[in-house]
Point group: C2
DNA sequence: CTTATTAATGCGACTTTATCGCAATAATAT
DNA sequence: ATATTATTGCGATAAAGTCGCATTAATAAG
């Protein structure tokens, strides 16, 4: 399964790179100049996420958000990704928080994914 | 809107109190002796959550999980709720982690809800 | 440059999770 | 015992996301 470089993927990645906040499918679609199918968008985003290129966040609204994170350019093993995201319940913006967190797990537990989200009001909306 | 004490609510709360892990709608329904409508279960759970009686967790599978937390009995203002939950991707169990976390927000930001979830393999499944 | 291979896409159907409106029921107050 | 209205059940509906399959197009091979 070698990956191919397609128009759709380029465009989506460019949008994610240019966005200062995480986007869900709907937000992303509205930023697209060309029309890309919903299923394709999801497939592209999840492919990016699988490849460790972007970060996938599940919002407390239950939706999937995707963000291009700086340290995502490092090899997958070097990812920490234990940082929190903040979602403003008013304007919907989802952004990365700086602070990194270490949570200790009980014995015998292994961690696969980390999902830290705080929602509330951002400085513009409070 | 004064709350009334109903059979359904009692039963659901009893199950949540007796469970050592957070439950989603499906898990809860299977533990019910009497048949309670899906919509009712959701309404009861969300009412509990609004009242601060139980803790609502959004899994990385996008589903809503509910757990009766010990400190949920305190008045709502006293809730910290900044603890993590762990979800095993194999057996599906969602449980509370002990460690409490403090995340500092940027200036002007206010927090409404906290959602910290780590998924991976629990000691039974790894 | 042309052709073959197969990853990626588009379309439509489908699944799952959750919510909503409304009439019927039942918990509390009078 | 009766009135009030919170709660429930039912069915319809919404919304998010996935899947199968035929078609398209990116890369490799000749």
């Amino acid at each position: 399964m070698k990956r191919r470089k397609t128009q759709s993927q380029q465009e989506i990645l460019t949008i994610l790179k240019g966005s200062d906040s995480a986007l869900n499918h709907e937000m992303l679609q509205s930023k697209l100049s060309s029309k890309i199918d919903r299923a394709t968008i999801y497939r592209v985003l999840n492919r990016f996420s699988d490849d460790g290129l972007v970060h996938k966040i599940i919002g407390d609204d239950g939706k999937q958000y995707f963000a291009f994170c700086l340290n995502c350019e490092k090899p997958k093993e070097a990812h920490t990704h234990n940082h929190f995201h903040f979602r403003c319940v008013t304007c919907g913006k989802v952004e990365c928080l700086k602070s990194e967190i270490n949570v200790s797990l009980p014995k015998g537990y292994t961690s696969e994914t980390f999902n830290g989200l705080i929602s509330g009001y951002c400085s513009n909306c409070s």
